[in-house]
Symmetry: C2
Subunit: 284 residues, 2 copies
């Protein structure tokens, strides 16, 4: 008998995947972690019952959280990833040979170790790479304690602002990130979705705080079919660089990195938002 994994995108809207095998389940001090295998999506994992990454489409999320910044600032050498314990973001970062170090601050050590075992497609890069420094600590604590403005890029690859990800959606966190970024540094953050009312509320909260903290705060969209509504957003914030005006398309294209979702035209298109999303963000 096959089982089903069901996520409540809303109390009255359910998304279900038939499970060939429930590979692993563990309750850590921070959250419930589950790994599954399915026909359509391959292996996937969930935190507290929410979809994090599937083998089929994690490339969309991880390409879109990493590559736009590199097409805007070709000088990115030092990167901080907050969250991102599945390793997918790190994998994409390490494709740039000029990246010198990636500090990955993940609150839950078990996410990293279990993804290395069950989801090597994203997590294999986290083992034995001298550029990668794993730090198992709360992201808010880490950025508040860190002292020097030395990151060219900070990526907040977090869960929703409920549970362990909550501190990563606060003024205190964004202010610390700003302090830790170089003058041409960029902050990318998980920015929720405009479609369902509760996600849209979090989208507006995040944007309201980011635009009060950073001179430049934009939002870009992508298609993420395994997340609620499939319409997902990342924030792009910086002190100086504009994601469109400062786009260095030629530089990025000459790197000749093969990608499956991201390209420099899509980069531009991703910032062109539907009217209702623009309006909600402007009024946030």
């Amino acid at each position: 008998m096959n089982d089903w994994y069901t996520e409540n995108h809303q109390p009255d809207v359910h998304f279900s995947i038939q499970v060939k095998k429930h590979l692993y389940s563990e309750k850590t001090p921070y959250q419930q972690i589950d790994f599954y295998e399915s026909e359509t999506f391959g292996k996937f994992f969930t935190l507290d019952g929410l979809m994090m990454a599937t083998e089929k489409d994690e490339f969309i999320y991880h390409e879109m959280i990493v590559h736009p910044s590199f097409a805007v600032n070709p000088q990115i050498k030092r990167v901080l990833v907050v969250g991102g314990g599945d390793g997918g973001t790190c994998r994409e970062l390490l494709r740039y040979p000029f990246v010198e170090s990636v500090d990955l601050v993940e609150i839950d050590e078990r996410v990293v170790h279990l993804c290395q075992k069950y989801l090597p497609q994203t997590a294999s890069c986290l083992a034995n790479n001298p550029k990668v420094h794993l730090c198992f600590e709360d992201g808010l604590d880490f950025v508040q304690k860190a002292s020097t403005a030395s990151y060219d890029l900070i990526i907040v690859d977090s869960t929703d602002p409920i549970g362990p990800g909550e501190g990563l959606f606060t003024y205190a966190f964004y202010e610390s990130c700003k302090r830790l970024l170089t003058e041409e540094g960029i902050l990318i953050n998980q920015h929720e979705s405009p479609y369902y009312a509760d996600d849209a509320t979090e989208m507006k909260r995040a944007h309201s705080k980011l635009k009060k903290t950073f001179p430049i705060a934009k939002v870009y969209q992508f298609h993420m079919p395994t997340y609620p509504s499939g319409h997902w957003l990342f924030g792009f914030a910086s002190k100086r660089l504009d994601p469109i005006k400062d786009l260095k398309a030629k530089f990025w294209e000459e790197l000749q990195l093969p990608t499956r979702y991201y390209n420099t035209k899509l980069h531009i298109g991703a910032f062109m938002l539907p009217t209702y999303v623009k309006d909600e963000l402007e009024n946030a």
Copy 2:
């Protein structure tokens, strides 16, 4: 007891909506028609168990199927809609005062009459409007019989290429549309989705035929959360007009039509496709 409407996006991927009321159900000679009411999506209707339109997000589909053409060709006066019995496409067309006539060719008269009763948000425009001519006939038959090149815009607002919509994805249909279009005419068609394998196969089939039929055949994307994967496409085909090079953004903006999804920047962005989608279309 509340019931659930479940659509199989794939055999092993289900999307379910809790139903407050199953408003109506009828089997016509063409298909099974059902109307439901739900908390999150309001009223919605399905054909053969597939989601067609919900009160919450039909504006996305209907704005995107109509407005891009008007921003490219400001001379659109005569329009043919094939399918589109729910009236949403017609409603958006009628917002342009210079549109003189809309011929709506819908195979199933019951769709129109039931939508007028259960989904007036889209279908109320179909009653008693001297510009709207309803014709209950097979779309392929209609275009093959029609003789003069007189449409400025043909919109194929169809179901998937299985069942009654099948003929609307054939060379014979596209050739007839080309014949019926003015020199600056535009064909917009439902173009399926790149994400799940079966939808992607139909996407490629449609594109392959369109690009062999029309000198210009482009594809644009939008976020449609209640369709499988939420990543949906329309085709833009024409003899002469390019959707980007010939965009008349200023003209369209000066019309000052309030829209919730479409805007002229998003127009440009919608044609900027993910790399994997571009590749599949180029190889189609």
